[in-house]
């Protein structure tokens, strides 16, 4: 960066900073859509997210016209459900991802994704968990975040390709020009690393 900031105290990295600024900006735009049906705010969200949804669906096997329809459907859901977005639960990017994920499972796989019903009286609410368990919940969640943050880049990349892009081990090996055995080892190490952060697990 040509104009670097002069800082006297430790600050988050540029990437962290821009991500949190983005988060605030997108959160405000979703809020404007929800409160005021703000078309300009929606257009800004659309220009940012629609190409990503398009890209995501194309990578997961949709043809161009299906991917375009899915992008529109997902963004229409953003328009309609903006009021249900909760910034305490997720970033706008994660929220849009979950909508895109559900829509493409529905459309590309012809499957309905089995999902929780948050109003289900049979669900064990977090609030009914004992204080000890509750403290452990917070700790285990932080441990998982730490584990994700400390994944080696190569292992994280295999995880991304395997679960996010749904590539087979063979496809990953071919795309990344890495031997098949190495791909499998990296995936096993990545999952083991994440699993170790889970309580009650051997």
């Amino acid at each position: 960066m040509p104009f670097s900031r002069e800082s006297r105290c430790p600050e988050p990295s540029d990437q962290d900073r821009s991500q949190s600024l983005d988060a605030d900006l997108f959160g405000a735009l979703v809020h404007a859509v929800a409160q005021d049906r703000d078309r300009a705010a929606f257009a800004t969200l659309f220009r940012h997210f629609a190409p990503k949804i398009l890209n995501y669906c194309l990578k997961l096997g949709a043809d161009r016209s299906t991917a375009e329809e899915l992008a529109q459907e997902v963004m229409l859901t953003v328009w309609l459900k903006a009021g249900s977005f909760d910034p305490a639960q997720a970033t706008v990017g994660t929220w849009v991802f979950t909508i895109a994920r559900n829509r493409r499972i529905d459309r590309l796989r012809k499957e309905l994704r089995p999902a929780l019903d948050p109003d289900d009286p049979a669900m064990t609410p977090s609030s009914q968990v004992s204080p000890e368990d509750s403290a452990q919940l917070v700790q285990s969640s932080r441990q998982l975040q730490d584990a994700i943050g400390s994944l080696e880049a190569k292992q994280s990349e295999v995880l991304r390709r395997s679960y996010f892009l749904e590539q087979t081990h063979e496809e990953i090996a071919e795309d990344t020009e890495v031997p098949l055995g190495t791909v499998k080892t990296r995936l096993r190490l990545a999952l083991g690393h994440l699993k170790r952060s889970m309580r009650n697990k051997a």
Partner: protein
């Protein structure tokens, strides 16, 4: 309230969060999540990870994006009026009606998916006896290639030796069972790889009833160790 002790494997949780996991096992994972605040948080952490991967996808290909946006104009206008709020509680069916049996409710999404109540009598034709005190539900459904039915074990009744050619998964819905790996109560998940030896046995006063998922074939073995 107790929380589950045995959780689905990490690949099931991340696969459920990313959408990579198919419907059959997702049904088991989602029902475990209803029991398990811990795994709900883990899945939401994995969703954030996927959200960050989603954000990294190229977004600078603007060709056609404005045209796409223009084509949504009519849709947006049609929904310009704020959606009317549905009166709370009116739209959802009375959950008790979906649970004709007694005992605690099976959580969603399994409750709506089950073809019948889980605790029907064992002598009314809805259960198929495998051995003394062990039954499989008469119904079996296949969801995204995974075979799904119920397994029922009376107190102390051992499930006969069996071989399975691929993953086997159990989710406890009622009661408890034990095997050489531990004790499993309501909400717990037991996961066995292909050709794993395991010997489940009912371990609660009431019958233990589990959701039973199988990717491959299940072959019960006779006392001589040969397929029945």
């Amino acid at each position: 309230m107790t929380v589950p002790f045995h959780h689905p494997d990490e690949q099931l949780l991340i696969g459920y969060a990313s959408g990579q996991e198919r419907a059959g096992k997702s049904l088991l994972v989602a029902t475990h999540l209803a029991h398990c605040p811990d795994c709900r948080r883990r899945v939401s952490t994995y969703e954030s990870l996927c959200g960050s991967w989603f954000e990294e996808l190229p977004g600078d290909d603007h060709a056609g994006v404005d045209a796409l946006l223009d084509r949504m104009d009519g849709l947006l206008t049609a929904t310009l009026a704020p959606a009317e709020m549905k009166p709370a509680g009116l739209s959802s069916a009375n959950p008790a009606s979906a649970n004709p049996g007694c005992g605690p409710l099976v959580p969603e999404p399994l409750r709506s998916w089950l073809p019948e109540a889980i605790d029907t009598p064992t002598d009314d034709g809805s259960w198929r006896k495998i051995s003394t005190g062990v039954w499989l539900s008469d119904w079996e459904r296949t969801l995204s290639g995974t075979r799904i039915c119920l397994l029922r074990m009376a107190s102390g009744a051992p499930v006969p030796a069996h071989r399975h050619t691929a993953d086997e998964l159990l989710l406890v819905l009622r009661g408890a069972f034990s095997d050489e790996y531990g004790h499993y109560a309501v909400g717990d998940v037991a996961q066995y790889g292909a050709d794993t030896d395991h010997h489940a046995c009912g371990a609660s006063e009431e019958d233990c009833i589990c959701l039973f998922l199988l990717d491959g074939d299940l072959i019960f073995l006779g006392e001589d160790g040969h397929p029945l």
